[in-house]
Amino acid sequence: MTEKVKFKWNGKEIEADKGSNLLKAALDNGIEVAHYCYHAGLSVAGVCRMCMVEQDGVPRPFPACNASCGEGIVVRNDTPKIKSSIEATLSFHLLNHPLDCPVCDQAGECGLQDYYMKHGQYDSQMVDKKVHKDKVQDIGRNVMLDAERCILCSRCTRFTEEVTKTHELGILNRGDHAEITVNEKLKNNYAQNLVDICPVGALTSKDFRFKQRVWFLEEVQTTCIGCETGCSVKVSENKNGAFRVKPSYDHEVNGHWMCDDGRNIYKHVSGALRLFGAQENLNGLFVPVDEFKTHQLAKGKTLKFILSTGLTNQEYEKFFEKIKGKSAQVALYVLPNQGEDFDGLLTRGDKNPNLRGARKAFEDAGYDSSQNALDKLLSSVSSNDAIFVVVPEIIYNEDHFNTLISKVEKAGLKIALTHGETLSTLRAFDFLLPIPTFVEKNGDIINFQNKKRALRSGISYGETSKDVSYYAGWVNL
């Protein structure tokens, strides 16, 4: 256990780890402190000078981000002296800033806008010419740079230096001519984090740009299903669907970051191919159908299920409960590894979000989750069977999955349980039945560390009430 100390910030007593970052301790304790350059996931730069504090017994103000918590220290940033210096520093930040908030994507979650609304108004006396810089630069990996909006906090350069160690960004020139320079286009798979950490609208995402004003969105705390790492994330969404995924700090799994692949996991949720109800394959064309028809056709058939590794523990459990004592066959389709086993930061080659949970549920229910069991099930497929294939939400290797589909051809009734008509090969199925996506259900998954992480439902865009266990209920027929 690290030693704890107590100190006072603006009169409020705070307890924190001895020697831990003073600014962080204040922020963690709900104190609002203006800060642009400090980021808990990066080294301390101390350049924005917004977090200045005074400490009893220390002659000069200093930035809290470069200080540590000590027993009994008394610090303040609400003295007239500090308040006026913070206001002055804020106006220095705004001096060469274009203040184009009405057309800026960051509006609503911009550090500058937040603070200048609070700390005083923009000095309209500014008659001098602003320093002009390049406003539209595509710096690669879906990231756009507006150099005029940049406040040179250096978070982005520290990120590419310290986190990805790919060194694409730097700061060129000095004084008020300093600007972010792109040594080479972004080439790392974590580039979207730059958009998150940029405190202003200088780095924006091409993908999200101008799509939605942030104040129309709600954030749902959940877990990424992009790979077995299981990063904690927030999905921004509203009734029109999901719009972006951002990392959410998770000390044990992903810290502050997530990979760019994970940023795309929401796209199918409200995508054009999303399935809203049962569909029947009429000569290669899927048309809406009453689910009852499928139900009737399945009657009297041997039911076989191939589950995916993307269901929650609770879904597996309910599923197996439903088929308990019934003669249904069940096997598990495991996604093949994709890319390197581990990129050194977060991304893993094993793309199965809940392989561990699936295996455990199979075992607990007395079923075999091995490849052998799957092969056995596939080799026994006959015209007497109604086969249900749960289509993984994200398929990295389509060929591999198509091979699976080709092996169920002989079944009398082929049903895909899916969120949408995502692959052309799904035409091999007779029916598509809808299931919820990862943001439309509550439950747990187990990541590569055997840690439990939650999936949380935020929106009900597509099918949300009928999950895999609902269809398992048909076994009773």
Partner: protein, 425 residues
Amino acid sequence: MKDSANYKDYALLSYHHIPGVHNLEIFERAGGYETMKACFDKDPEAIKEEVKQSGLRGRGGAGFSTGVKWGFFTKDRSAIKYLLCNADESEPGTFKDRYLVEKNPHILIEGMIISAWALGTQKGYIYIRGEFYHQAMILEKAIKEAYANGYLGKNILGKGFDFDLYVHRGAGAYICGEETGMISSLEGKKGQPKLKPPFPAIKGYRGLPTMVNNVESLAAIPWIMKFGANAYKQWGTEKSPGTKLFSISGDVNKPGVIEVPLSTTLKEIIEVHCGGVRNGNKLKAVIPGGSSAPIFNAEDSLIVKMDYEDVAAKGSMLGSGAIIVLDETRNMGEVLKWTLEFYHHESCGQCTPCREGTGWMEKILKRKEIGVAKKSDIELLDKTAASMRGQTICALADAAAMPTQGMIKVFRNELEQYVTTVAKK
């Protein structure tokens, strides 16, 4: 027969009258390197103590006690650590280190070897301003001679002490004279000051303990060790003991570098040492400590004593000892304009108040160029300068703000007139 150094009057320039003293052989004939040899028989701690007792204050500008600073340095002799000589000398008006090194490189090298022995540093660098190419070559040659004589390198004079010394040329950035900016530059990075704490004495070059001292500070060490702290204190005041180099430029008849006891009056320096104001003109103002020092009007200039306390008491600072004399023909608006242009150009751009403030101050002063100048701009300039002070990583922001506020305090009317007068074309 030995040439003898004129030690009686000078601690620093005592060899300067000897022709060819930049050659090791001539320097030695005049008594050079004797103190170094004697010091190897002294306890390093005793050397540090002697320097502390002498009251020598850092000559790089801040005037912090050299001995006290040395006291913060680790006593672990086996730990890897560095001695860094600051020869970046880029403050407008300052050219004393250049003069010292150019004429007598060996006094610096001798001072560095003694300091290295006292501090236990195994490696040293002389970081020299990029424009001082000629001086860098002189140093290189002198270092070669010192190696050849066994004063540098492995097992110096058989005492089991190793010290290697290198010259590193800067690329012409003022900010690389700030000690942590210098360390960044030496590390191969962009010349940007580092956050303090940690201070270089604890974590400096390559994250290891590093002692940074100015050329003039290090060059004073041999004298102090030869004649002792008490002898050094014969000059100057209690708080400003010793002699100091002053580089005098501007409107005097004989500009140049002189060595005088601290607390010599500015009047004596101008009238006796520099032959008075040029053309018999009237003195208007003096910048007493380099471009960052607030300006004195003629009245204060004629009564101030050039020591750390008296200059400070009159609202300025001794700084690097660069005296810039301005006569009645000078326009203070122009002086401030050049000053602001300099700091705008030299701000490294890390800290917001400095990056934005230095540029803005220049723009405010030049508003007449875009036809929007008002008398009240001077007030805005004063306010802007004030809000830059004490807010940044290094003292460059203060170095830009102080002379601005100083100039406004003394010459407000003239400045108000300057900003609102559009030159006729």
